[in-house]
């Protein structure tokens, strides 16, 4: 490696007009997208439990419902769903929340080739974050969570922080809290 990668700096509080003005980026699954449609909501809170008021954003990257990434590195002979975009990006509202319309991703191979449990890759950006905070969202109760190699790296007591849960009374709605710091702190990854 001849050069060091450029250093990260915070997005700051005023990124909205540059990065999140296009709210269509909250809709990954267009009409006709295959798979189980879900509405995935996030709430980000800081070390005092206060929600991030519009000065944080979430980026998603996920496979389609069959577990295919729309990227040349995913060389498996499967066509990506043309009605699905694996990337999403939204800022959190005044209450610290945002909602993505997507599908539950299929299983993709892990480092040793065995299937990973369905998961969505997350980057959190915010005022006060000098670089993005990577994490993953898994789905509570999903078959495959028990054998997932990445979840296996996480101390059992903290795995729950990575689990989206169904919202009672709202079919298709899932929710997860991102706790940046303190009690119940979300597990973040060094990728």
């Amino acid at each position: 490696m001849a050069k060091a990668s450029t250093a990260s700096q915070t997005v700051g509080p005023f990124f909205n007009f540059g990065l999140t003005a296009d709210t269509k980026l909250g809709r990954l699954a267009r009409d006709g997208a295959k798979g189980e449609r879900i509405r995935l909501s996030f709430r980000i809170v800081d070390g005092e439990g206060a929600p991030t008021p519009g000065d944080a954003m979430i980026e998603l990257w996920q496979a389609d419902a069959r577990g295919k990434y729309d990227h040349p590195e995913d060389a498996r002979a499967m066509a990506p769903d043309p009605n699905f975009c694996g990337f999403g990006r939204l800022e959190t509202g005044p209450d610290g929340t945002c909602v993505f319309e997507t599908v539950k991703p299929g299983r993709v191979p892990g480092a040793d080739g065995s299937p990973q449990a369905p998961h969505i890759n997350i980057n959190v950006f915010a005022r006060g974050l000098l670089k993005q905070l990577p994490t993953r969202v898994y789905f509570a109760g999903e078959r495959g969570n028990d054998e997932d190699a990445v979840l296996g790296l996480v101390p059992a007591a903290r795995r729950d922080t990575l689990m989206a849960r169904p919202v009672p009374g709202q079919p298709g709605a899932w929710h997860i809290e991102i706790r940046l710091q303190g009690a119940g702190e979300t597990v973040f990854f060094d990728v």
Partner: protein, 241 residues
């Protein structure tokens, strides 16, 4: 070659950055980190298809004025017109074509077009302050904009951010994602800025400071500044066993 192909999975790793070249999450000088930096250590993730892929935007059309922030409104914005250009490459210096580069910034008076920016400086009706570009086959991007003003913030007494442009880049993989800031050379606020000073390594800090470039400068029109950006790349050197 046989031995190499058996360890092909390892060759595809994106190495972690060298110590000090990236900021840590907690930097007390930047007060907002105190309640937002995680306290638990991050868990090191082996790179799977999830990390080695990422969104590609190469087929998205961009508008004619997307990379010219001085032509997005009816009239020209106030301020000093500048050209900012450079190359996006990986750590081995290979150009990264088709990379989406997003840019946003304050106006010449140091005010953002954002509902919660309450700095007592004028908004400019002719400056939106956001643009985007894709790198060409040589990894090159180019923006025309105006030089942003410095502005005060409430991080500490008499705190001022040096003039800066915000950059967002999507490399070829999720792990190469980068959001950063570009500064201007010889700005007296640079040593006082906790955001920039959060980077421990002096060389890494200096690489966020663009350099004046006469060859980019257009006569009778605009000064040129060069800002090259390096995204995390794969280790191209095969392992020897």
């Amino acid at each position: 070659m046989g031995a190499r192909s058996r360890i092909g999975g390892r060759m595809r790793e994106y190495p972690r950055p060298a110590a000090g070249t990236q900021p840590e999450y907690l930097y007390a000088g930047y007060r907002s980190t105190l309640l937002r930096a995680p306290k638990q250590p991050l868990i090191v993730l082996p790179h799977t298809l999830s990390e080695r892929t990422g969104p590609l935007f190469g087929h998205n059309p961009i508008g004619e004025t997307d990379n010219d922030l001085t032509r997005q409104c009816k009239h020209e914005p106030q301020g000093e017109r500048i050209i900012v250009a450079g190359r996006v490459m990986d750590e081995d210096g290979r150009p990264l074509p088709g990379t989406l580069v997003e840019l946003w910034q304050a106006n010449a008076a140091g005010r953002y077009r954002h509902a919660r920016d309450d700095h007592r400086a004028p908004l400019d009706p002719n400056f939106m302050g956001a643009g985007r570009a894709f790198t060409d086959d040589g990894g090159r991007y180019r923006f025309t904009t105006i030089k942003p003003g410095a502005y005060p913030w409430r991080n500490h007494a008499n705190a001022w951010r040096p003039a800066h442009l915000h950059f967002s880049l999507f490399g070829p993989a999720w792990v190469a994602r980068l959001v950063t800031q570009m500064f201007f050379t010889n700005d007296p606020l640079l040593p006082l800025d906790p955001v920039l000073q959060s980077i421990a390594d002096e060389g890494a800090r200096n690489r966020l400071v663009s350099s004046f470039d006469l060859s980019l400068t257009e006569p009778e029109w605009a000064l040129g500044y060069r800002f090259d950006i390096v995204l995390r790349g794969r280790n191209a050197t095969p392992f020897e066993e």
